[in-house]
Subunit: 200 residues, 2 copies
């Protein structure tokens, strides 16, 4: 499926077929492509928690105000960010280059993130959100539908998945087979409202 058609056909779906399962081969195909997404300094901040156990699914559903996607979707992926990738052997992300480039990159990485908690969080949000779009468009190509969700108690879901203290959740992506067509698309802002030339 072309990128343009995937963008045109993608809609956020609320009702998934609870009987449909994604195969492990499909899941691997999905993830193998999505993790080719870019991340700043190649730090790959994303950590994907694939929630499969029915009791875990139910717990996440309760933390998400009982939204049925959390149990009915074929896949429920909690997209988390490791806020401290930059401080965990960053040279590993640049070990394919010569030592001079590696040293330069490690210095740049440390300079960018150290003592800037907001930059660490923003970066994780960027990386995981970019990854989420790769997952949504890949899902579309594979004949699936999806819904990115942030209507849940982030702290509770963090507890349910035993998330480390130095991680945060970006969003939950549900993927499955749509049971109903979604509602008509909401109003779209015009290009004049969202595109500016040179300055505001």
């Amino acid at each position: 499926m072309s990128v343009s058609n995937a963008l045109k056909q993608r809609r956020s779906v609320k009702h998934f077929d609870p009987a449909h399962k994604m195969t492990n081969e499909e899941f691997k195909h999905l993830i193998d492509h999505a993790i080719l997404s870019p991340s700043a300094f190649n730090l790959q901040h994303w950590r994907i928690v694939r929630v499969s156990d029915p009791a875990q699914r139910q717990a996440v559903r309760e933390a998400a105000y009982d939204q049925p996607q959390m149990t009915d979707a074929s896949e429920v992926l909690v997209l988390c960010m490791d806020l401290k990738t930059w401080d965990k052997e960053p040279a590993q992300y640049w070990n394919h280059t010569g030592p001079e480039v590696t040293d330069f990159m490690v210095q740049s990485i440390t300079g960018y993130y150290q003592e800037n908690l907001q930059a660490q969080r923003d970066e994780g949000m960027r990386s995981c959100s970019i990854l989420s779009m790769a997952l949504m468009l890949m899902a579309q190509e594979m004949g699936y539908d999806s819904c990115p969700m942030d209507g849940f108690d982030f702290a509770k879901v963090g507890q349910i998945i035993n998330m480390p203290q130095d991680h945060e959740i970006c969003l939950i992506l549900t993927i499955g087979k749509a049971l109903q067509a979604p509602h008509p698309k909401g109003g779209q802002l015009s290009l004049d409202d969202v595109v500016l030339t040179d300055r505001f």
Copy 2:
């Protein structure tokens, strides 16, 4: 181009052909598709500043530590978020539904963002980053290359584009024709490192 091929072929490109220009028809095709991206509550937090004027390009380049993409790329898009979309007539995003749904959505929107500055910022980062991936993959399909950038002085670029106080920059996306093949791809974390089942 298929989504999977666009993901496989996309690389962050550092050297663009400064002679190549994108036509307005191409630009419209690119943006028309990318803004079909999802955003929470359909708020479409993104505002895209298309930097075309050579003096503006040069100023952004200086604020980006003289990185040549800022003048050489065919398009330099500063992806900004309006942090206060939720407080600016939010009913306009739900005017296609009946009044009951509109009222419910406006209440939900206000409840989610009001008095939560971090949630406002996170949401803008999510929406703009998701949009950026739509732009990158569309660019790929259209025969272009791209590079998402956050190595610049955010405050300085905000001044250059006269950004309102209630906006923030997410990233700058450069799009153009690659002059050189990018460096070999950096080390990729294995699936075992990034995918967890049910919990950490």
